[in-house]
Symmetry: C2
Subunit: 625 residues, 2 copies
C-alpha cells in the first residue's frame, strides 16, 4: 500500500467554485435557464454605439436583412411568395370553416400577420398562416359560450379577442424569456394531440361528404376531388411541428418533377370546383357552396374586441392553451428549417414576433396565426431567401381580397372538406406512434393519452393529461436518481457499474458508489436507504478479516443538491461513522462543493483531504489521510 502512494499523484481538486457569491451564481443560473442561446454573445466588448445598433437589429431583424436586400434574392422570394399564397387561399378558407368563422376571415388572416412577421420575425423560411389544430381548438372552447350560427358577430369578436390575448401571452412569454415553458410540450404529446385532432376533424368532415351523397351530382364531384387530392396527399399538409425526418421526406418529395402539381393542387381544386359549381348552378342541386365573400381589405376590428367578464375567463383559458399550441408549432418549425439552412433561431425573440403579429392581427379581423408546418416547408423548398416571401404572400392576398374574392364564393363546401380531410390524414403519424411503441413505451403512453383524451373527452383534457404524464415522468426521474456500485474493469483504471460489467472487480475493504443526480428532497430518503443497503450487503459478504473500511462516493454526475439532500449525506455519514467507515468524495462539481462546504459536510467527513479528483486517487490515498 505504501508503494502505491508514491505511484499515484494527488491532483488538486478545484474548490474555487465556493468563492462564487450567491448573486453571481444565481445570475449565471438564470442566464443558462432563460437565455440558453446567449443571443448577445457577439456584442460582448463592442463599443456602446455598436451595441445599440446590434440590439435594435436583434429586436427588429428587418433592419438587418433589408439593407442588403437585392433583386437576385427578390426573384426567389417572389416565386416562394406566390407559391405559398396559392396554398394560403384554400387553406385560409378551409380552416376558417373549421373554426366556424366566415371564410373571408381566413383570407384576412393571411394578409396582416405576414406583414408584421416580416418586420419582427427572424426565421427566413417561416410562412405565416392559420392552423387546423388551433382553429378547431378555439372553436371547441369559444363555441361553448357563443353560438357561431345564432350570434356570428359575437362569435367572431371572441375569436379576435382570443387572438389579441394569445398575442399578449406570446409576447409576454417572449419578453420574460419563458420560452422554457413551451419545452414542456413534448414531441410525443404533440404527435398524439395532432392525431386525435385529425380524427375528430375527419369525422366532422364526413358530414360534409355524406350531406353531398343525397344530391344529384355527387359521385362526380366526390370522385373528381378525391382523385385530384390523391396526388396532393404526397405534399402531406402536416402541421407536425418537430419532426425533421418528415421535413426531409417532404422536401424529397417536393424535389420531384411533380413539385408544382401537389403544391397548387388545392388551389386548382378550389378553382375547378368554383367553375363547376358556377356552371351547373350547384346551389340549386343541393351542393352547398361557401357563399358571399365580400370584396375589400380587412375591416378594422379593434373596437370589436370583447372583454366582458362573462366571456373573459373562457377567452383567456382558450388563449393560454392556444398560445402554447401555436408557439410550440411555430417555434419548432422555425428551428427545424433554421437547422436545414444552418441558422440559429432564438425562440424567445420569435415569441415576441408571433405575439406582435397576433395583437396587430386582432385589430384587423384576423384570428390566431402561427407558422404552420406545411406552408413553411413549401416556402422553404420554393427557395425563399428572406422574410420578403411573407410580404409577397400578403400582397397576393391583398389582390385577391380587393378583386377576386367573389370568385371563391362558388367554392363547393365539399372541396373544402376534401382539402381539410387530406391535410388531416397527414397529421395521423401512425409510423411515429409505432416507433414510439418500439423505442420508448412510456412515450408511447404519453402519446396515446393525448390521442385518446382528445378523441374521447376533449382537446383540453387530452393535452393536460398528456403534459401531466410527461411532467410526472420528469418528477419520477428526480425522485429516483440512478445510482450504482462501481467495480474496476480488469487491466484498466476504469470503474464501471458492476451490474452492467459483471466481470469488473470489487475492491476489498472499499465500496465505490456512483451517486445519481440530482440529490433533491424527493430522492433523499431513497438514496439514503440505497447507500445503507449496499453497505449492509458489503458487510454481510466481507470475510471477517476484511471489514468494510471505506466508502467512496463518486459525485461526478451530481449536478445539484438541495438542503434535504445534504441532510441525507449527514445521515449517511453518521451511520457509517458508527461502523468506523470513512467516506471519500470524488470529483464533486463546483455548485455542489460550495454547499457541502457551507453546510460543513466536508469538514465533518475529515476536511478537503477526503475529496479527490479521481477514484484511483481516492483508493490509493484515502487510507493515509
Amino acid at each position: 500500500m505504501e508503494a502505491f502512494e508514491g505511484a499515484v499523484q494527488r491532483n488538486a481538486v478545484n474548490f474555487s467554485g465556493s468563492g462564487q457569491t450567491f448573486l453571481s451564481s444565481f445570475r449565471s443560473d438564470l442566464k443558462e435557464t432563460l437565455l440558453p442561446d446567449d443571443p448577445f454573445r457577439h456584442l460582448k466588448g463592442q463599443p456602446a454605439g455598436a451595441v445599440t445598433v446590434g440590439l435594435l437589429r436583434y429586436f427588429v431583424p428587418i433592419l438587418e436583412w433589408a439593407p442588403s436586400y437585392s433583386f437576385a434574392k427578390f426573384k426567389y422570394d417572389l416565386l416562394a411568395g406566390v407559391t405559398i399564397a396559392s396554398l394560403a387561399i384554400p387553406q385560409g378558407i378551409s380552416y376558417a370553416r373549421l373554426a366556424n368563422l366566415p371564410p373571408v376571415i381566413g383570407l384576412y388572416s393571411s394578409f396582416v400577420p405576414p406583414l408584421v412577421y416580416a418586420l419582427f420575425g427572424s426565421s427566413t423560411s417561416l410562412a405565416v398562416g392559420t392552423v387546423a389544430g388551433a382553429s378547431l381548438f378555439l372553436a371547441s372552447i369559444i363555441g361553448s359560450v357563443a353560438s357561431a350560427t345564432e350570434d356570428p358577430q359575437l362569435y367572431s369578436n371572441l375569436f379576435f379577442t382570443a387572438a389579441f390575448c394569445t398575442g399578449v401571452i406570446e409576447a409576454a412569454l417572449g419578453i420574460l424569456r419563458l420560452g422554457i415553458l413551451v419545452d414542456f410540450l413534448s414531441r410525443s404529446t404533440i404527435t398524439g394531440f395532432m392525431a386525435g385532432t385529425a380524427c375528430i376533424v375527419i369525422l366532422q368532415q364526413l358530414k360534409g361528404f355524406l350531406g353531398l351523397l343525397h344530391s344529384t351530382h355527387r359521385t362526380d364531384v366526390v370522385s373528381t376531388s378525391q382523385s385530384l387530392f390523391t396526388q396532393t396527399n404526397q405534399v402531406n399538409f402536416s402541421v407536425h411541428p418537430i419532426s425533421e425526418d418528415k421535413t426531409k421526406e417532404l422536401l424529397h418529395h417536393l424535389r420531384l418533377k411533380l413539385f408544382w402539381l401537389p403544391v397548387i393542387a388545392p388551389l386548382i381544386v378550389v378553382v375547378v370546383g368554383c367553375v363547376f359549381a358556377y356552371l351547373v348552378h350547384a346551389e340549386d342541386h343541393g351542393i352547398h357552396i361557401v357563399g358571399p365573400l365580400k370584396k375589400g381589405l380587412n375591416p378594422i376590428s379593434i373596437s370589436d374586441l370583447n372583454f366582458q367578464s362573462k366571456y373573459l375567463s373562457t377567452v383567456l383559458n382558450a388563449s393560454l392553451m392556444a398560445a402554447f399550441l401555436a408557439l410550440s408549432e411555430g417555434i419548432a418549425v422555425g428551428r427545424s428549417l433554421g437547422i436545414l439552412k444552418n441558422e440559429q433561431t432564438d425562440g424567445n425573440k420569435e415569441m415576441i414576433a408571433f405575439g406582435l403579429m397576433n395583437i396587430l392581427g386582432s385589430f384587423f379581423s384576423c384570428y390566431l396565426t402561427t407558422g404552420p408546418f406545411s406552408r413553411s416547408a413549401v416556402n422553404y423548398h420554393a427557395g425563399c431567401k428572406t422574410q420578403m416571401s411573407n410580404v409577397i404572400m400578403a400582397i397576393c392576398m391583398m389582390l385577391v381580397l380587393l378583386f377576386l374574392a367573389p370568385v371563391f364564393e362558388y367554392t363547393p363546401l365539399v372541396a373544402l372538406s376534401a382539402i381539410i380531410t387530406i391535410a388531416m390524414i397527414g397529421l395521423i403519424d401512425y409510423e411515429e406512434a409505432y416507433r414510439l411503441f418500439k423505442v420508448d413505451k412510456y412515450d408511447f403512453c404519453i402519446c396515446m393519452s393525448a390521442f385518446l383524451g382528445v378523441v374521447f373527452f376533449s382537446m383540453t383534457i387530452g393535452l393536460l393529461v398528456s403534459v401531466m404524464l410527461s411532467i410526472l415522468r420528469a418528477l419520477l426521474y428526480v425522485a429516483r436518481p440512478t445510482s450504482c456500485k462501481l467495480g474496476n474493469i480488469a487491466g484498466t483504471e476504469l470503474y464501471r457499474d458492476v451490474m452492467l460489467y459483471p466481470n469488473s472487480k470489487l475492491l476489498s475493504e472499499t465500496l465505490i458508489i456512483e451517486l445519481g443526480s440530482p440529490i433533491y428532497f424527493a430522492a433523499a430518503g431513497y438514496l439514503k436507504e440505497r447507500i445503507l443497503r449496499w453497505v449492509e450487503e458489503e458487510e454481510n459478504i466481507a470475510n471477517k478479516d476484511e471489514h468494510l473500511k471505506h466508502v467512496i462516493l463518486d459525485m461526478g454526475g451530481v449536478t445539484a443538491i438541495d438542503n434535504t439532500g445534504i441532510g441525507m449525506l449527514f445521515d449517511v455519514h453518521r451511520n457509517l461513522q458508527k461502523k468506523e467507515i470513512k467516506i471519500s468524495l470524488v470529483n464533486p462539481r463546483p455548485g455542489v462543493v460550495e454547499k457541502l462546504i457551507s453546510s460543513r459536510y466536508i469538514e465533518i467527513i475529515g476536511g478537503e483531504e477526503r475529496v479527490f479528483l479521481s477514484i484511483k486517487e481516492a483508493i490509493a490515498l484515502s487510507h493515509f489521510s
Copy 2:
C-alpha cells in the same frame, strides 16, 4: 497517432442491456421506484412455508417480536410507557383544545390508536399520539363548514370522519406503495410550514393569556407556569420530523441529570394548576378551566361517521392534506429513530399501520393520530425496547379515563395555553432557516414561502405554494441538465470540466462534451443549442489547418433519455454530418443504449465501433474506425 493505437486497448462496451425486454425492465424500474427498500430480499429462495410465515410476520410485526418478548424488555417498556403517558395527558388535552374539540377526545386518541399500532407498526421507538400542526389544520378546514360552538356534535363527527378518511388514504398509499408521494414534502417545506403554524397558534394562545390578565390571580399563575415551562423549553416539544441533528441535541439534553423534570413538567403544571384552581375556586375568579370530563372509555363512534355530500368534499380535502402531513411526520420520525437504533424502517408498511390505527381510531371517538416527534423521542430515550411501550401508554390512559378524568376538569386553560405555546416555540427553527439562507437560497425561498403562506394566507396555501416551488425546482433541473466541455488534466488520463479546471488541455480537432442527465423533452431543445454552440465556438477558434473533425459525447452520466431526446441526438448528428464531423459516444448506460439501438441512432452514427468505454479510447481509436 498510429503509435497511439497500439497503446490503447479497446475495451468491450456492454450492449447486453439491449436484450432486456420492456416488461422485465419495466418491472425492475417499478420495483426500484415503489419498493426501493426491497423488503422481501431475505425471503428469496426460501421454501413456500417460510415465505408465508415471513410475509405474515412482515405485515403483522407483533408476530415477530412478541414470541421472544421477555420480562427484561418489559421493565424498559413499562418505564417508557409510563413516561410517554405522562406526556400524553397534557398534550392530548392541549391539542384537542387547539382543534376546538372536547378535551376528552384528546385522551381517547391516546388509547385505541397506540394499541392498533402495537399490532401492525414496525418502529420500536415510535409513540402514537395527536400532533399540533394537524390538529390546527383540521380545525381550520372543518371549522369552515361546521361550527365547534354551535354544533359541537357535528363538528366532532366530522373530525372522526376525517380520521377515517385519512386512515383509508394512508393505508391505500401504503398498499399501493406510493410512499414516494410523501417524499415530495421537502425538509424545507416542513420547516417553514411548522414555523408558520407555530406563529398562528402562539398568536391564538395569546388570547388565553390576555383573557387571564383581566382576572385577579393573573401574575402568579402566568409567572408560575412560565417559570416552570422555561425548563421544559429544553425538551423542545418539537414535531419537526426529519431533523436528526435535533434528535441528537434533544437526546443529549435528555441524558442530563434533569431528564425527568422537563419530561413530566407538563403533567406537573397540569396537576399543580388543577389543585390550585380547585383550592381557590378559580372559575369564580374568572380563570377559565377545562370543564366537565366524563369518566369512562372511548364511546363507539362508528355510527357517527358523517358522509353527507355537503361535507364530504371538505372532509376529503382535509383528509388528503392531513394524510400527507401526518405521514411525513410519522414516517420521518420512525426512520430517524430507526437509524439511531440501526433498524431499517419500511415507509410503506408504516403507512398501512398508520392507516389501520386511524380507521379503527375513528370507530372509537379518536381523531387524527400519527407518530409525533416529541413523544417518540422521549419514548426512545426512556429506553423502550418494543412496541409494548405503546400498550403501556394505552393502559395508563385507560386507567386515567376510567378513574382520574374528573381530576383534570380543573385544569386552567391558561396552563394548556402555556403548554401549547412552549411546544410551539420549539417548532420555530430559526437556526435551520438561517442555515438554509447560508447554504441554499432556493431552499430558503421554499421554506419562507411555506412560512409566509401559512401566516398571511392559509395553511393550505402555504403548503401548496411551497410544494409547487419544490416541484418547480425539480422540473427546472430536468429542463436544464448541466452539460460541460471537457479538457484533459495535464499528466493524467482524467477529463474534467474546462470551466472548473481552466488549465485542462483542449484537444485539437476533437471536442469532448459531457452530457447532463436526463435528456428529456423539456431539455432537448436546450441541449441541441448548447452542443451546436460549442461546435460553432470550436470552429471559430480552430486554425484553418485544424478543422473540428470529431465530437465525443460522454454519456456516462445520462441515466434516462426519451423520444424527444433521441430526436435531438438525430438533429445534432444531421447537423454535424454536414460539416463532416463524426460523433462518438462514451460509456452510455444500458437503458440508454437500448433506446439508441432500437431507434437506430447507433447505426446511423457508424455502428457499435463508435461507442467506447472511456474517453481515452474514443480519442485514440475513433479516427480509424
